[in-house]
């Protein structure tokens, strides 16, 4: 065998909750059925958990299922939810909602750091014989006669144009009976697979949100561990769909963030900036006053719901978790669904291994299992919720109410959303006050409670190798300059939560885009939101990207 190829039975791409659940459950089933097969999981982050970010509130049942042979108390949840409140913020005040919003109750759930949970899952998986390799980017699907046969890691030691340098290392081919795509939101290889096999035929466009999050250490007594707040209103109001969250963690830590739908129209909308403004609201500021920023991160979430889930299987491959879009609105919970989907995928894979048949016919049992599962039960009734809010908060709210009564259908049946890259308006067509105008007096970041993007990015621990082909690429520079910059005012400089995109004005007055890929926190917003999808996100070297510890 050539010295750059390895063989495995199961290859799992991605070490988030979905990929790790697939690994653990496969190992569980192997144990039960005394199967001796190789499971290999590859993660691009420096370590398991370093690219994992979520609020997070997690539903414990799925962990009980996955770790039934373990002591439940050994699972590193942070704290059980003790109080759960939704508050509506006006510019200066707050109103507690008098009624609970359906699907948004969190009794019995836990607040947790998803990075920590993933590290735990990985340690269990490794104990059970799963081989986990983090710090490797898988950037190519290998095909043979049109069938997926494996994947290949990125070549490293190349210059900016891809020419090999002295430290060149060729990527490794991983050949597998079956490949599990667990790449998370907007997975690069998953997208390629979906395109190649047209897995999104008759599916809705996926819709996304971007969440910016900070982890704080606050003085004793500011917030009780396990206390959970969700906020609506300020500063988003009716301009964008979304809201904030504040979770009390143990040891006087506080997780807070703002999640905003990427279907907004304002070309100057800046979610990171909105997050900073949100923090200045007295309700939030009083909780972080005297505290210290520990970590920052940002990540997108797939919110398109049931109708946006692609076909999940092809010969020798299946898609699980956020890569497929398992997330239920409006609870904004997807971790347990991602994990359930992986558990179901694992069951199907074991059947396929036993039969030694990895054809789509065998693997499609996974898709059928989903339809009979809790995933369907949770996602189907809310299948139209997110799309309805594309019409704005009030119109969305009314539709949501009708959907709730009619079991999800609402007044208009299935709703088809635009893709997020199509919703941005040209500067001249955006008639309302733009975000930058509305908040032009709130652009000073005090670096104590509010931070500019560059400072926040520092707290993400991000690193990228200087020598590599830049992983953010503009497909047509001339069109980008003419359309994205001139007509839209370069929304990328605003939507990116990590100051990757800078518009530089040259001496002759013309403008050009400068890309600081070294800042990228791998949230994928640019891949989703840029007009005409002119910016695309590719995989950088392994172990590059943020280094989240307790996100």
């Amino acid at each position: 065998m050539d010295s750059n190829t390895v063989n495995t039975n199961v290859l799992i791409i991605g070490g988030g909750p979905a990929g790790l659940s697939a690994a653990v459950h496969l190992a569980n089933l192997f144990e039960e059925q005394q199967i001796k097969k190789r499971i290999m999981l590859i993660e691009k982050g420096k370590a398991i958990g370093s690219h994992t970010l979520s609020g997070a509130i997690v539903v414990p049942e799925v962990f009980k299922l996955l770790f039934k042979d373990r002591d439940f108390n050994e699972i590193p949840f942070d704290t059980k939810v003790v109080k759960d409140k939704i508050v509506l913020l006006s510019k200066k005040r707050k109103i507690k909602l008098p009624f609970p919003i359906p699907y948004m109750r969190n009794k019995g759930n836990y607040v947790a750091s998803l990075s920590q949970l993933c590290q735990y899952m990985a340690s269990v998986a490794e104990e059970k014989g799963v081989e986990i390799y983090s710090g490797f980017s898988v950037n190519e699907i290998l095909y043979e006669n049109g069938r997926v046969v494996g994947a290949k890691t990125i070549d490293t030691g190349v210059d900016g144009l891809g020419n090999p340098m002295l430290n060149f290392q060729e990527g490794t081919k991983i050949l597998a009976d079956v490949v599990v795509f667990a790449e998370g939101v907007r997975g690069t290889l998953t997208q390629a697979l979906v395109r190649k096999f047209r897995l999104d035929e008759n599916r809705n466009n996926q819709m996304f949100s971007l969440g910016c999050k900070e982890l704080w250490s606050v003085p004793e007594g500011r917030i009780k561990a396990g206390k959970v707040y969700h906020t609506m209103g300020y500063p988003l109001m009716n301009e964008a769909f979304g809201g904030g969250f504040i979770y009390g963690l143990k040891n006087n830590k506080l997780a807070l963030g703002l999640v905003v739908g990427l279907d907004y129209q304002d070309p100057t909308f800046d979610i990171h900036h909105a997050f900073q403004i949100w923090k200045t609201h007295p309700f939030i500021k009083k909780m972080i006053q005297g505290g210290k920023l520990l970590e920052y991160g940002a990540k997108t979430l797939p919110e398109g719901g049931y109708y946006a889930i692609p076909k999940l299987t092809v010969d020798n491959a299946l898609i699980v978790g956020d890569a497929a879009g398992f997330l239920a609105m409006p609870a904004l919970k997807g971790i347990h669904l991602a994990m359930y989907s992986a558990i179901l995928a694992a069951q199907t894979i074991v059947e396929a291994l036993v039969k030694n048949d990895f054809s789509e016919t065998t693997l499609s049992a996974y898709e059928r299992a989903i339809k009979n599962s809790v995933i369907y039960k949770e996602m189907y009734p809310v299948r139209n919720v997110r799309q309805a809010f594309a019409d704005g908060l009030i119109a969305g709210g009314i539709q949501f109410a009708f959907q709730f009564i009619t079991g999800g259908a609402g007044l208009r049946g299935r709703l088809y959303p635009k893709s997020d890259s199509e919703t941005t308006k040209k500067l001249k067509n955006y008639k309302r006050k733009t975000f930058k105008e509305r908040f032009k007096n709130q652009c000073d970041f005090d670096k104590e409670y509010t931070f500019d993007k560059a400072t926040d990015v520092y707290y993400s621990g991000v690193h990228h190798d200087e020598n590599q082909v830049p992983h953010l690429r503009v497909s047509d520079v001339a069109a980008f300059n003419e359309i994205n910059i001139k007509e839209y005012g370069a929304p990328c400089q605003y939507f990116c939560p990590a100051e990757v995109y800078e518009i530089h004005t040259k001496k002759d007055g013309s403008q050009e885009l400068r890309i600081h890929f070294e800042n990228c926190v791998h949230c994928k917003t640019c891949d989703i939101k840029s007009v005409d999808n002119r910016i695309s996100w590719h995989l950088p070297n392994g172990d590059n990207g943020p280094d989240y510890r307790y996100m």
């Binding site: 590859i42 490797f136 030691g157 400072t455 520092y458």
Partner: protein, 648 residues
């Protein structure tokens, strides 16, 4: 071709997470660890040889606790074939001498010695970020008795018989040809590091890491650990507990502000002094034990006069003032002898006497036009054995820092590297109830310049290298009397087994940002003139004999005012000059990450609210176009630049 490359690797705590245990020794168990950066470059150098000669066997060795296996595993993942870890509780507390000895024993055990038939090359990192001495490679070479090259950027194997090494020296480089076997230490400026491939990582999982104890390699316990170490750390104090608030220079105009700045800089660093004085007061209670002089017949101070471009190097003159200081603390009989080695160098001897040497011993040989470690070691060792000095001092130049530890192996002494202060003191031995006096107390900054350690040696001569720039130039007194004598060492053929192919020196250029003492960096607010004023300021420093260079912030680099190699910051390089002058830099946190190890930071910016002032020690608020010309003028008229730098 049968050839083995052996890499000596050290695992170090991340600089930001270093802390010490209660016993004053480094606690390596708690901090998050990495492979020492220089060692990573040494690993890559080995891989480059393997790339060219695929038959080469790559071996990696380390010495330390079991947790070092993580790094050895990583080396295997990069493509090394075998890994050995020398791990034994008894090794704890080993200084560089004992470490060098233990490692050379390990190499012997593995079948690598001067006599072994199989050819081999030992690669190591230049220095470790926690110890920072750069001694171990030299000492391993000495224990093995083989040729060496340190501070090497690039190596190239020739005919499988020789190694061509490019050695970085002050303001240039040397190219030399070494016979095998040899020891080479690598600087972090060579070939960029590779990432392990998945394939090699998987293969590495199956490979075994062999653990060995001292008994396995026939190493006696008396030779290692605290008992086998000629030096001990007697105390470590914090140099700066809290960052003092910035001192903004007030004044009617730029002229006055700059004047005040230069004045402020030339005042001695109060913080440190106060702290040390306090420490000494605490220790004033001396128990009533009898005094014991353990010097035997070792007397006097020996220094080395390094010759560069037919001139005595400035730093070698500086150590004469350290020597004279020690002389007065010892007794009047103490003699300062300076060894002057080279080809036709005798005429320089008188100058050394004028600067403070009592006797200059000239060693001349027409093969010694340039410094070479092997013959110089030989000359020194023979002369030390002849006159038996109690103290030997070197300037901590690239030459001094490899020469001192190599000599020390032959004299059985300990060496303290890169000292910033030297004095005579005592040691209270509570166990034996005696006080040893007089002993050399060598003070050196450590743990990323955050602490000051005091190190004592109990084997004579006591050897130290002194950081260039920390001692002032002594008065040049032509009326001083002294003796000039000659010494003829007996050379062996082996002393000249390394041939020097070329030496390149540039008066001012080619000094890289890593070893500059003064760095002036420009940011967004200093680009109006293409950073010209900054470059002019650098020129003034250089004319005054200061190692100075300019850098830039990311904004200035991105805007094309400076090449990437000059970018200081998180994505650029981390520098640690004595003095960092930030001009027109706002102070983004990423930039600060690259300069916070600088000893003193001076900020010049128009905006008094710029974050850079939060991190700076001194600040001038003003337009750089006004401040810098004033700075340049006053600095060029300044007569005592040392005073200014010593305040830094």
């Amino acid at each position: 071709m049968k050839l083995t490359v052996i890499n000596l690797l050290k695992q170090v705590p991340l600089p930001s997470e270093m802390r010490m245990g209660d016993d004053g020794l480094m606690d390596r168990t708690k901090a998050k660890s990495i492979i020492n950066i220089d060692c990573q470059f040494a690993l890559e150098a080995g891989l480059q040889i393997k790339k060219q000669y695929p038959d080469v066997r790559l071996v990696v060795c380390s010495m330390g606790p079991a947790s070092f296996e993580t790094s050895l595993r990583k080396a295997l993942a990069l493509g090394y074939d075998e890994a050995y870890l020398l791990t034994d509780n008894k090794l704890r507390g080993s200084d560089t001498y004992a470490t060098g000895l233990a490692l050379s024993h390990l190499l012997h055990y593995l079948g690598f010695s001067k006599e072994s038939e199989e050819k081999f090359i030992v690669l190591a990192g230049r220095q470790s970020s926690d110890g920072d001495t750069a001694h171990v490679p030299s000492q391993v070479a000495a224990h093995l008795g083989v040729a060496q090259a340190t501070f090497v950027e690039k190596i190239q194997l020739q005919d499988g018989e020789y190694l061509i090494a490019k050695r970085i020296i002050e303001g240039g480089f040397q190219e030399m040809k070494l016979p095998l076997p040899c020891v080479v230490s690598i600087t972090p400026t060579g070939v960029s590091l590779r990432k392990p491939s998945l394939y090699t990582t998987i293969k590495a999982k199956e490979k075994k890491i062999t653990r060995l104890g001292i008994a396995d390699i026939n190493l006696g316990v008396e030779n290692i650990g605290i008992s086998g170490s000629p030096t001990i750390v007697v105390k470590v104090v914090d140099m700066l507990s809290e960052h003092a608030a910035v001192r903004i220079m007030q004044g009617a105009d730029e002229k006055e502000k700059v004047k005040k700045l230069l004045l402020a800089l030339s005042e001695k660093n109060d913080d440190n002094q106060q702290k040390e004085e306090k420490q000494q007061e605490e220790q004033k209670e001396i128990p009533d034990f009898p005094m014991q002089d353990i010097r035997d017949d070792y007397r006097g101070i020996l220094t080395w006069a390094e010759v560069v471009n037919q001139k005595i190097s400035r730093s070698s003159i500086e150590i004469l003032s350290a020597a004279r200081q020690l002389q007065t603390q010892l007794d009047n009989e103490t003699k300062i002898t300076t060894l002057l080695i080279g080809d036709k160098v005798k005429h320089l001897a008188e100058d050394l006497i004028a600067y403070g040497a009592d006797e200059v011993v000239v060693v001349e040989d027409n093969r010694l036009q340039e410094y070479q470690i092997l013959p110089f070691t030989s000359a020194f060792v023979q002369y030390i054995q002849k006159i038996r000095p109690e103290i030997v001092l070197f300037a901590a130049t690239t030459a001094g820092r490899e020469l001192a530890p190599r000599i020390a192996v032959y004299t059985g002494s300990g060496v303290t590297a890169d000292c910033t202060d030297l004095e005579i003191g005592y040691y209270i031995n509570r166990k034996k109830q005696i006080i040893n006096y007089p002993l050399l107390h060598s003070h050196r900054p450590t743990y990323g310049e955050s602490k000051l350690a005091t190190i004592l040696g109990f084997k004579f001569p006591q050897i130290s290298t002194a950081r260039p720039g920390t001692f002032s130039i002594p008065l040049h007194d032509t009326s001083r009397q002294g003796k000039i004598t000659t010494f003829h060492p007996s050379w062996k053929d082996d002393d000249f087994c390394v041939s020097l192919l070329q030496t390149f020196r540039n008066e001012s250029g080619l000094q890289n940002l890593f070893d500059a003492d003064v760095i002036v960096s420009g940011g967004r607010g200093a680009t109006v003139d293409n950073l010209q004023l900054i470059k002019d300021l650098i020129e003034v420093f250089r004319q005054k004999g200061v190692k100075a260079d300019w850098g830039a912030s990311r904004v200035a680099v991105d805007a094309g005012f400076a090449p990437y190699t000059r970018q200081v910051g998180q994505t650029g390089i981390t520098v640690r000059p004595k003095c960092y002058i930030a001009v027109g830099i706002s102070g983004a946190i990423q930039h600060i990450a690259g300069l916070k190890e600088a000893e003193k930071i001076i900020a010049i910016d128009e905006n008094p609210k710029a974050s850079i002032f939060k991190y700076a020690d001194y600040g001038i608020v003003g337009k750089y176009q006004d401040v810098l010309p004033e700075f340049i003028e006053q600095l060029s008229q300044c007569e005592n630049i040392d005073a200014i730098l010593s305040g830094c």
